[in-house]
């Protein structure tokens, strides 16, 4: 079978910001992971039945990096998993970011919000090697930043926004983008972050004719396409002649996504 659950070994699992951890896994098929894909984590706790999807933050030969926020019982349990122990994980899942679509653009801007920042790191590296575009990261945090140095190493430009003004721009990423000197007009956008941010960004990009890919999330059941728990609604705003019911379709975020084009997502359902 092409897909399976494998046992990966936790090489390290350490705190990189308040309630944010970085986990390195020894994982033999790591090189198969593409930017924007995620893996299902099968927790050890018998009472926490469902897999937890976590995006691939970086992948190298035989090693996978995940960065996750502690938001509930599952991620709290993960935070206690010791290096050297075994973790059951699924194969990299989903349709990740389409990198080649940005070819021909002079500059790509990656817009990340909070725990949506990690998958953009692997994307930044792929864009640097597979396109000629200059890569700019615009990263938003509540207060404490994480991964910023990694982005600074591989991006041409890295801008930080914090909601409390403790570092970089005081405000959110959208406000930062609208600052005159950022001129995102001819850019190609990729983004991952809270739904509200993606929705506002999609409106902004749409208004300026900037292409945008977004990575969405939803509560998942199976994480591999079997249960239809994780849907989003996509459609074409152009098909005005059609009834609303037929002009839009449900897509499963776990296998059809998690990455979609901003202008195909129906945000207000």
């Amino acid at each position: 079978m092409k897909n399976g659950i494998v046992e990966a070994v936790i090489a390290s699992n350490r705190r990189i910001a308040e309630d944010v951890l970085r986990m390195e896994l020894i994982y033999k098929d790591a090189a198969l992971a593409a930017p924007g894909q995620f893996i299902n984590i099968y927790l050890r706790e018998k009472n926490l039945l469902l897999p937890r999807p976590i995006s691939v933050c970086d992948a190298a030969d035989g090693a996978l990096t995940l960065v996750y926020g502690v938001v509930g019982a599952g991620t709290r349990a993960m935070a206690d998993y010791a290096p050297g122990s075994v973790l059951r994980v699924g194969a990299p899942c989903g349709n990740g970011f389409n990198v080649s679509d940005a070819r021909g653009f002079g500059r790509v801007t990656l817009i990340g919000g909070g725990i949506g920042v990690p998958p953009l790191l692997m994307l930044a590296k792929a864009l640097k090697t597979e396109t000629d575009a200059s890569v700019r990261a615009v990263l938003g945090f509540k207060s404490e930043t994480f991964l910023a140095d990694e982005f600074r190493t591989c991006c041409d430009e890295t801008l930080i926004a914090t909601e409390d003004g403790s570092e970089g721009f005081h405000g959110n990423v959208l406000e930062l983008l609208k600052e005159e000197n950022l001129n995102p007009g001819g850019d190609y956008f990729y983004s991952c972050g809270p739904l509200m941010m993606l929705r506002a960004l999609s409106r902004f990009a749409g208004g300026q004719g900037i292409p945008l890919q977004v990575s969405l999330e939803a509560r998942m059941g199976c994480g591999y396409g079997a249960c239809k728990a994780c849907i989003c609604v996509v459609g074409s705003r152009q098909s005005e002649g059609l009834a609303a019911e037929t002009a839009t379709v449900n897509k499963r975020i776990c296998v059809d996504g998690p990455v979609f084009f901003g202008n195909e997502v129906i945000w207000d359902v």
């Binding site: 897999p51 509560r219 199976c222």
Partner: protein, 332 residues
């Protein structure tokens, strides 16, 4: 060491090479088929299908609870025409590819006819089409439309707790259950399974009504109506507010209901509800089931249906059960 047990069963005039199927709504041929070889199962049961496409409920559709999960998917499905055009042929093709003489995996671990793995005399994996409707005519229309297809059996979901207009009312009222069963019975020559809801006071009454109206088998249980509240956000966890509870938490209720129903009707029972291991499955046979379905376990671990089949075979072998019939009479 005992001889390899005979896993085959006879249900509604059809031979199953083994008594394990998937529970409706937890199996997608294209996606599940990438994780395990579903042609090893006695049957596959597909997601509920209606006359026209249904969009289902808003998200979040899933919530976890201690030992189980709540779902309010809302029976999203592409409609019976798309099902006939895309799902059935895909399943058929998948099964045939693996049953071809000389095929690598063919019949491995199916047992049944006593033959060695690799010499394929066992029957093909059957297709059970699960059908839903908002009213009697819709059930009838879907059943009729499936007549000329490769679906081997029909399973009528009269028990889904999610759709306000239909589902619940049919399955919780003996008269309505009989009415819709009789209507579908008249519309199809295929073996008809009526899937019962546990959200009733007396499941035997509904099972008997289905039997009297012409059902060839009953399957139980569907999910138990429940809800969760996110206390921090001060709102229900599911967008639909309520949802169906499934998984290990419901197994004792499912077992009790299978046990009671087996003593109330003369038609076979497909048992389900929280089956996580081969030994769990054995308990359902001892309670009176003739076959079992694996649902939530497959969401938690994609290969669960075939894992559980192997575990059941192992359990039978090491505990001296020669066939499913022996399990079924174990309680005396």
């Amino acid at each position: 060491m005992y001889k390899r047990p005979d896993m085959s069963v006879e249900l509604c005039g059809l031979r199953w090479k083994n008594p394990v199927t998937t529970a409706s709504g937890t199996f997608s041929a294209r996606d599940s088929g990438g994780y395990y070889d579903f042609s090893r199962l006695g049957a596959v049961t597909t997601k509920g299908v209606s006359a026209e496409a249904w969009r289902g409920n808003p998200v979040p559709r899933i919530a976890e609870s201690w030992g189980g999960m709540l779902n309010a998917v809302g029976l999203e499905n592409p409609g019976v025409e798309a099902y006939i055009k895309e799902e059935i042929p895909y399943i058929k093709h998948y099964i045939n590819e693996r049953l071809m003489p000389g095929g690598e995996r063919m019949c491995a671990n199916t047992g049944g006819d006593g033959s060695e793995a690799g010499t394929c005399a066992a029957p093909e994996t059957l297709i059970i089409a699960n059908i839903v409707g908002k009213h009697v005519d819709e059930y009838r229309a879907v059943a009729e439309r499936l007549n000329e297809t490769d679906a081997d059996m029909l399973e009528m979901n009269i028990s889904c707790p999610n759709i306000k207009a239909g589902g619940l009312s049919f399955g919780t009222d003996a008269r309505l259950a009989a009415e819709v069963t009789a209507a579908v019975r008249a519309a199809t020559a295929k073996p008809l399974i009526v899937k019962l809801t546990p959200n009733v006071t007396d499941i035997c009454e509904i099972a008997k009504a289905a039997e009297d109206a012409g059902a060839d088998a009953v399957s139980l249980i569907n999910t138990l109506l429940g809800m969760r509240i996110d206390a921090k956000k001060r709102m229900p966890t599911l967008a639909n507010i309520t949802g169906g509870l499934s998984g290990p938490a419901i197994k004792p209720i499912a077992l009790r209901m299978v046990y009671q129903t087996a003593r109330a009707v003369n038609i076979p029972i497909i048992g389900m509800g929280g089956i996580m291991t081969g030994e769990d499955a054995a308990e359902f046979f001892m309670a009176g089931a003739s076959a079992v379905a694996v649902g939530t376990a497959a969401l938690i671990c994609p290969t669960a249906p075939t894992d559980i089949l192997s575990e059941l075979e192992e359990f039978m072998q090491s505990n001296g059960f020669a066939d499913i019939g022996a399990l079924r009479t174990a309680l005396g």
